[in-house]
Subunit: 470 residues, 2 copies
């Protein structure tokens, strides 16, 4: 019996496949207000895992969590000229509250550099108070005209780090540290997404930054997704909000600040990087459910053994779900778990039980084989490790094979139809960048030939990665 | 040398003491928009501990986390008459977004029964989909005219649980389960706050509920604070949002829903229940920092031993902070840790090191004694256990000794000047309740003489707990 596809095949229509999988894996729904989303329990459990892993790394880098208000006085945004220009078109504004027209409208935060700058100024007196390393987990609002769930929503969840330092070198070092030790490490080792780490061009820079650094991932259709950014803000916000400190010589100095963030957009990136025509494929290190133990039949001995098996794996530190919905067909249940991308299924029936085996089904890499119930935790552990490595290898292979070196703008535009192009920045330049933009192809970032970060907008030998993007 | 008080003494001015301790323990600041707050890193670390403990209990009760939008169409709120009437005066309304006047204004969620109701209706087809047990951690906005940090803020952080059930009995059982297994247990066993669990009168009920149950705590000044509530919503929201299911007999039925929440207000309750004239006192089970290891002198051997001691305690599962700020006086450092309410200080100097001891200082219960460095983890563990028990005992003793039994309204009002009064509901009634309200005394809840929950607004023998409140 030929299997009816549950999703639009990726090759037919990738955006439609994305919508299908978001809906059928019960990840999210569109909210009632245009551009907002409802993150359903399964989608949220993935976000919670992301939060836990990113939060651990942020704390290890020395930043402390805090919480700043959702509402920001409109005049705060106006204090930094580029910042207000960048964000004004996207703001949601509260004009009525407590039954009255407000004297000064307040904006719903699109990001918190301004309000956090105000408090950094209060909390910073001397160089001994620096570096001041803060982070918050929050919702932000940027009104979207072309929303797409997880990728581009009017409200999204994120963390935003904000730090203040005594000098430019310390600020830069910290922004780079976050980029590598928090973001790149998390994306590669947890999400199994081999991001390219680079510097944004002046055109693509965050509004108010002196330097924006980024992590860019290639999706299944060859497009790019900006997964997270880390900004040097120079003294722009320090001057606008008067973040000053007394240095060791007793002189007042303006601090140097940074900001950096990743958001629920990463959930969209995870789906589009690893998903296939059967649904999601969640890397085991991230997966809220790493293994599902399924009872094949409504048989007490089978169900009891499944429970014991689930307990054994839980005790071994595996995140397990037990599926004893024996009234539903195995085919339907297997399809559901494939859609949800659970890395390993263990299917147990009466015959397996008699032979002391269980059928291990791999979502990643494929394959279905009976394995002994003795030492099952180790067997499962190996399967999970292999799946994690396979996803990263597959994504790396795709990224590398679909990135081509070119030297002309026409070649770059052509390559961006199916993947990424790499072109010397000296051959592209600001004008070439503008030309590509007309065809919706953008410079995702600048990188040095050895993979390191260029130290300026026009670093000698820098390469531009150009692509279409989400 | 007489110690200069760092805080306004509680006996002089309790509200002023509260403001002082919030500021000096670096818990929070007022935000720039009226009624909002900035939760500083130390305050936020306490909230994170609360979240972790409550979240674990919620998950154990079977509810799953999800996330619903901040913005709710104005018309959603209007669908449930009491609900809109209750919340209208407190709403913040977005009328402009993306540079344009919105056709339909959207409200910033004051609570999410309405938008979650809309999605429960989509996700519920048959009785097999029920119970549907959801929770979200989010910020909400209720415009406050008389804001007070943590206790009453225009924006606050909370969890809101929302569930749908096949019948009234199941809904009630779950709302009661959350009240006891999540809230009461967390407050007693983690916060060391012996809450009274009761039923709200009709006057104090949540807007749209058929029954509101509450956990009420006595603060250090004898006033009451509502710490958390759990509501039966009957079929009010199910009818307004069409949450229907097909029952086992094939008939369409409306579901029965509940909602329940606790918020950052609990941080205020923690401060006011346990704080003293030296600052906060954080129960060890909750404390983000349970023990601070302090080097008394700038001496390499001392500092090395402090580091080793901190590592040893960390390995034993204790949450430790190392304080080697030897350039600052011990007095100032000790005062800081007292303000922050860290349960145990371990002070190590050269003489201690020579004698293989460390000075253990108890924030709770008091006392300062040399203890052997051998077996220090066990010694510290006992001190923390004793502190946890002592805080609960002290708060219980205060609650019980300052609650008096009365039979007249005049006596109840008089008792509420310094504590709580307990009066038979039959002697008070709706009219007595209205009378007390004129003197800012409210019925905090109704309880049965044996401490159980009354099963209706006029349960035979029910007692009313009346008090002034925050």
């Amino acid at each position: 019996m030929a299997k009816q596809p549950v999703l639009t095949p990726q090759a037919d229509d990738f955006p439609r496949w994305y919508q299908d999988v978001v809906a059928k894996a019960e990840m999210a729904d569109n909210g009632p207000v245009r551009g907002t989303m409802v993150i359903r329990p399964y989608g949220y459990s993935i976000w919670e895992q992301m939060q836990a892993e990113v939060d651990r790394r942020i704390k290890r880098a020395g930043a402390k969590n805090a919480y700043f208000p959702l509402f920001i006085p409109e005049q705060y945004l106006k204090r930094e000229a580029e910042h207000v220009e960048g964000f004004s078109p996207e703001l949601a504004v509260v004009t009525v509250a407590g039954g009255k027209e407000l004297e000064e409208p307040v904006v719903v935060r699109p990001t918190s550099e301004t309000v956090i700058g105000e408090f950094m100024a209060k909390w910073t007196q001397s160089y001994r108070d620096l570096p001041l390393l803060l982070n918050q987990w929050a919702n932000v609002v940027r009104w979207e005209l072309r929303p797409r769930v997880f990728l581009r929503t009017s409200e999204f969840l994120w963390q935003e780090g904000h730090t203040a330092h005594v000098d430019e070198a310390d600020a830069r070092a910290y922004a780079v540290r976050i980029l590598h030790e928090v973001y790149e490490s998390f994306m590669r080792d947890v999400l199994a997404i081999p991001v390219v780490v680079g510097r944004k061009t002046a055109k693509e820079r965050f509004a108010g930054a002196t330097n924006t650094m980024t992590t860019e991932a290639m999706m299944g259709d060859g497009k790019a997704l900006q997964m997270g950014t880390s900004h040097e803000l120079g003294q722009n916000f320090a001057k606008a909000f008067d973040i000053q400190y007394l240095d060791a010589e007793g002189t007042q100095q303006h601090a140097w600040t940074t900001s950096w963030g990743v958001s629920t957009r990463m959930v969209g990136g995870l789906i589009m990087c690893h998903g296939d025509d059967s649904g999601l494929r969640i890397p085991p290190v991230l997966a809220p459910v790493q293994v599902v133990v399924m009872a094949v039949r409504d048989d007490d001995a089978v169900i009891d053994r499944c429970r014991a098996l689930a307990d054994e794996l839980t005790d071994a530190g595996v995140r397990v779900e037990l599926d004893v919905r024996v009234e539903t067909s195995m085919g339907r249940r297997a399809t559901d778990w494939e859609l949800k991308g659970v890395p390993v299924r263990l299917e147990l029936g009466p015959r397996d039980l008699a032979e002391n085996v269980v059928t291990l089904v791999r979502r990643i890499g494929g394959g279905k084989e009976p394995v002994s119930l003795d030492g099952i935790a180790a067997t499962v552990g190996s399967a999970l490790d292999a799946a994690q490595a396979a996803l990263l290898a597959e994504a790396t292979e795709r990224r590398d094979s679909r990135t081509v070196d070119v030297t002309t703008i026409a070649e770059a535009a052509a390559a961006a139809a199916t993947g990424w192009a790499r072109i010397p920045w000296a051959d592209l330049g600001v004008e070439g960048e503008a030309e590509l933009a007309k065809e919706s192809v953008t410079v995702r970032c600048l990188v040095m030939p050895d993979g390191s970060l260029p130290d300026g907008d026009a670093a000698d030998g820098a390469l531009a990665i150009v692509a279409r993007s989400y």
